[in-house]
Structure formats: structure tokens, C-alpha cells
Subunit: 360 residues, 2 copies
């Protein structure tokens, strides 16, 4: 498979009749002026025909549209954004895109935004927050109409810069009484408590956690452990016996090794709360490999409710977070702000659901 150097061709429309004085580097692209000239109107009228067709007479509208059609003109939204202070760009920051937990939100964000003419810029901060500063600068420099953050921005420096930039911000996947701006999330503490109660009701009496070293997962686990102790399902202060922490991102493999480690420390464990579905499925597989019956001997609860969790065998009980709702809501908030509408209560707790399946 070989090929030549392929110079990028430039599409030149029919040269305008009247050559205009152009001292700098023009000629590159078709502009609104060219279209306007072709339609015999002023540039601003052509602009209106494209952006606010109702504000223009049908005859002119038609002429402009014809001109656009004939030339293949595509408006330069960078220039438009500069003039109107609306870039129609929205930035989303996720720790990492692989690992699939945030995918549903990103997908729904992309779609909701696209439906209203906005485009998503994607940024990955990494779990160790190292690049976060440079990323923030790159984002703010593009003057997006909104920024969607995964999690709460913890660095005071970051909060300050975002605040100073004046860009609408939506923090997600968590709750806080002091958001930078807007918030769409859920309570990790409530999840921990709910899962503990859930397992207790199903008769489990010796529970443990397998979790990433991620801050949110740690908070879920603490709430879970506190409640579990209240319910007598976990020995006081027995953290080493009943909790295993693995580095993010979690994998199926870390689920398998995690279960081995936990069982080595405490073979009497009869229920396990995992910080991701991937790990939970690894746990189920390892249990099967060791001849431990799920759910009879060991109940397993995952987190995130990945699409395939219902298809594994036994089907996995998991805490479902509706990423689609997060994405939609965040998009709505930002678009409303961008349209000048003041969002009255830009804080939303979307809650969660424990999807009970065979693994418990």
C-alpha cells in the first residue's frame, strides 16, 4: 500500500467580479462577504439570513440560501464566536475515557449538545491530577460556553481560575454544599449506606469491600463500613480484615486478585461490595474458579451497572448511576445559561438505584 504526497486542494469559488483591496493573507477561504456579494446583499443581511431567518424577507432568504448552496459556504464559527462571545463549544473533563464508567455521560453530553448546535471538547485529567492545570488553561483559552467536570474540583487554584474565567461550570458525579457553580450528582455516602442495608436485609452477616483508591469510592466505603458496623456485619476497627484497596483504574484482573487477598485475610466473608462492575465480575469469576458459590456462599455487588452486567452469569447486582441523565441535565444547564436564562436551582441530585440481580 503506497501513495503519493497529496497536497490539500483549496476550493475556489467563481472569482468575485470586483476585486477588493486585501492587503493581507486572504483568498484562502470563502467568506460571508463572498456569499453576500453573490446574493447582492450586505454581509450582515446574509448573516441574519443564516442565523435568524425570520428576521429577513423571504426573497432575500432564498437568494442567500442559493448563494450558500452554490458556493458550499460553511460559516466560520471561530470568527462568529469571537464577535458574539459564544463559541458553542463545551468542554468535558473526565479522569480517563477508558474504564467506561463515564462513557454514558460523555455520550449523552455529546448528543444533547450536538442537538443544540454545540460541540464537545474532551479533556482527560488523569487520576493523579497532574495535568489538570495545563488542561484547565487549554480549556479556558478556548472560551467554551461551559465546562463539565467529573467530580468536584478540589484544587483551590483550579476553582479560582474557573470562577475567574466566568465560564459556566457543572460539577458532576458527586454532591457538595459548595459547588463552583452548578451541580449534577448523587451521594456516595447514601450509596454506601443503602448497599449495607441491602445486604443486611438479605441476611448477610460478614461483609467486606474491594475498592479503587479513588476518593469517591473511599467515601462510599466509609459510609458502607460505618453502617455495616452498626448492623453488626463488620468487626469494629477491622479494616485490614474487611477492606482491600487497589489502584485505579480497576480491572477484571484486580477483582480476581482482590478476592483472593480478602479471602486469605478473612475466609468467613459472605458479601462483597466492589467499587466497579469490572472488579465485581472479576470477583465472580475468581469465585467460580475457586468453587465458591455466588450468591449462596458469597454475595457480590458492583457499582456503575455497565451494560453487560446483566448478561453475565450469575447476573450482577449493581448500583446504577444514570449517566445519560447526568449528561442531559448538565447540557441543559449549560445551554440555558448560554441562552441567558438564569437557571433557578442549578443543583440536582439524580440519586441511584440498586439493580438487584442473581449475584445477591
Amino acid at each position: 500500500m503506497t501513495d503519493k504526497i497529496r497536497p490539500v486542494p483549496e476550493a475556489l469559488p467563481d472569482a468575485p467580479a470586483v476585486p477588493v483591496k486585501r492587503s493581507r493573507r486572504s483568498g484562502g477561504g470563502l467568506t460571508l462577504r463572498d456569499v453576500a456579494k453573490l446574493a447582492n446583499v450586505a454581509p450582515i443581511t446574509a448573516s441574519r439570513a443564516l442565523n435568524t431567518p425570520d428576521a429577513v424577507s423571504p426573497a432575500i432568504l432564498q437568494r442567500v440560501r442559493d448563494a450558500v448552496e452554490r458556493t458550499g459556504y460553511v460559516p466560520n464559527m471561530l470568527a462568529g464566536g469571537l464577535a458574539s462571545k459564544k463559541s458553542r463549544l463545551v468542554a468535558a473533563v473526565v479522569p480517563t475515557i477508558t474504564g467506561s464508567v463515564f462513557l454514558e455521560m460523555v455520550q449523552s453530553l455529546t448528543e444533547s449538545l450536538a442537538a443544540s448546535g454545540y460541540q464537545l471538547m474532551l479533556g482527560q485529567s488523569g487520576y493523579q491530577n497532574s495535568r489538570e492545570d495545563a488542561l484547565l488553561e487549554a480549556i479556558i483559552g478556548r472560551r467554551p460556553d461551559g465546562v463539565v467536570l467529573t467530580g468536584i474540583m478540589r484544587s483551590a487554584q483550579g476553582r479560582r481560575r474557573l470562577l475567574a474565567s466566568g465560564i459556566p461550570v457543572v460539577e458532576t458525579w458527586d454532591l457538595t454544599p459548595t459547588p463552583i457553580d452548578m451541580l449534577v450528582g448523587f451521594s456516595h455516602e447514601k450509596i454506601g449506606i443503602a448497599v449495607a442495608d441491602f445486604l443486611h436485609q438479605r441476611g448477610r452477616r460478614c461483609v467486606a469491600t474491594l475498592s479503587a483508591n479513588d476518593e469517591r469510592a473511599v467515601r462510599r466505603n466509609k459510609a458502607f463500613a460505618d453502617r455495616a458496623r452498626e448492623l453488626g456485619m463488620m468487626a469494629a476497627g477491622a479494616d485490614e480484615m474487611s477492606s482491600c484497596i487497589v489502584p485505579a483504574p480497576t480491572t477484571l484482573g484486580s477483582g480476581r486478585s482482590g478476592l483472593r487477598e480478602l479471602l486469605a485475610r478473612n475466609p468467613r466473608i459472605d458479601a462483597l461490595f466492589c467499587s466497579s462492575d469490572m472488579m465485581a465480575i472479576g470477583v465472580i469469576m475468581e469465585a467460580q474458579a475457586q468453587g465458591i458459590a455466588v450468591p449462596d456462599q458469597l454475595a457480590v455487588v458492583g457499582m456503575g451497572d455497565l451494560s453487560f452486567s446483566r448478561d453475565v452469569n450469575p447476573a450482577l447486582t449493581s448500583v446504577r448511576i444514570d449517566g445519560t441523565v447526568i449528561g442531559n441535565t448538565a447540557a441543559r444547564y449549560i445551554i440555558a445559561r448560554s441562552d441567558g436564562k438564569l437557571v433557578s436551582e442549578p443543583v440536582c441530585d439524580i440519586g441511584f438505584t440498586i439493580m438487584e440481580r442473581e449475584s445477591t
Copy 2:
């Protein structure tokens, strides 16, 4: 959890000493002029200090940097892009982000681009190509410095618009003698042939395929089937007996139901080539549920080599595509173009590897 309406505060630096005539809507943000004034230099000098520090005396460089530091100034790259015709934005189009096959490429693109100061815009075309036209307009309108396409652009209309836009394009995940511009991919036909040979060498004699209705998967399967017939592993013209097509996106569940259907049609099947790892794992699970031994009675080959495929039991044999290499290479091509360097042979076949594991 309640909260007040939170007006977005505007960060105002110390007011400039000399009030400038500003008839329109200014005052919103800090500009290069403000920084320049603070540093007692012309705006263009401040610009040079930030963009080409070597072209400026050390003393001035320091003054400008101080001013930036004091004010928290972040350059407006939209304005910069308009003036310099370099947006430092790159668009990536994927069918869908969920389904994880393209994630590795997107991640690597994001990172490689970020490392050179470029930002990724993400677009989802959907598998049914319906939104592709609007998406293309949205992308071209932002004047990105490059577009990365997943797969070959087949719509003639789309090819024309992209070509006319003059934007560097990288098509990926496939090969073609007639790319729009640049190309980083691999041969789906070769994969089909290689997998057929692979299974034949391992003694399989009655093979079948389970595949999405995706165009690339269909081409892999055709090559696979042709070779399988040559090798006597598949009856001539027995498409219904040895091939099952499911709608994209593929899921674990479609793997399970797919295997049931194939076995109903032909119980003698001893090897199965699946168009995704997700489906392949579903096949393994269904086989286990039915008491069919993998690999003894049934060999299973996946496609995509997802990270967890090596962790399932039995570990899945899969065709590995290095998405990281695709992303890196595409980013390199675009950045080189954007820097004015002519890429000499902008076509790259990255190949593939059959990762042999327990499932065969």
C-alpha cells in the same frame, strides 16, 4: 441539598490607568492589551513574549510574564486562531463512544494532541450515518486543524465537502487505495484470512462467524469464509449454516443468543470467529452455561482485544488492533501538516496481531 442562584462573577484586574474608548461590549475579559499595558509594551510584543519568547529581550519577557501572573491572563485562542488560521482544534469522529472498541484510539489521540497544545473535539456519527452530514458541517465550521475519521468516508458528498474545506483528514481503521488525504489503518481482509488459517492450523474443521452488520466486520467475515472454504472448513454456499449477523452495537447478550442460534442451525460447529470481544465473551458464557467445553469442543476468537479479555476464564484469543498506535500516528500526521511539514507518505498500515490465549 439546596442552593441559591449563583451569578457568575467576573474577574476584573486593577483598572487600567488610561481609560480607552470602547464603544462596544468590552470590559468582559482581560485581554492581551491589558497585559501589554501593565508591562509597558505594545500588544504585539506581549504576544511575542508568550508565543515566541526567544524573539524578545529577557527583561521584557520577565515583565510580560509578571503581568500575566498578576492578572491571571489566559490568551483567547479563538481570536488567535482567527488571526493565525490555526485553531489548534482537532475533530475526531467515531460511530459511538460506548462499545469501547475505539476508546483506546480516542484516549491516545487526546493525549498526543494535548501534549502538543491541541484540543480534541469529539463527534459521534452513529452507526446509521444519519447525523453525519450535520456533524460534518459542525466540524468544518470550527475550522479544526485536522479531522480524524473512524473508517473510510464513503459518502461522496462527505468526501467532497472535506476535500473542499482544505482541512487535513486522517481516515483510520481501514485501508483503501483512494483515501481522501491521509490514512492509518489495517486490512480487514487479511484479518479474516489470518484467523481462518489460525483456526485451521489448530485443527478446527467446522467454523462459523458471529458478526455485527457493520461494513468492516462483514468484509472480515467474507475473507474469513472464502479462506475457510478453500481450507475445507466451511461448506460452499452454506451461509445460513455458518454465519449469524446481529445489529451493531454488539453486546455480551448478543453473543449468548448468537451462539444459541448458530448451534441450532449447525450443532457440529467447532470454532467461532466473533466480530467483537464482547460477543466472544458472551459466547464463552453461553457455552459454559450449556456445558460446551471451550476450547475443547468450541474454539472462540474475538476481535479488538479489550483489556479484560485476558482476564476472563478461559482467557480469550483475540485479534489485537493497537488503537494507541492509530491515535498517535494520526495525531503526528495532523500536527506535522499543521506545522507546514509535508508528510511524505501519509499512509500507514499498522497491521494486527492474533493474541493466542486459552479459548483456542
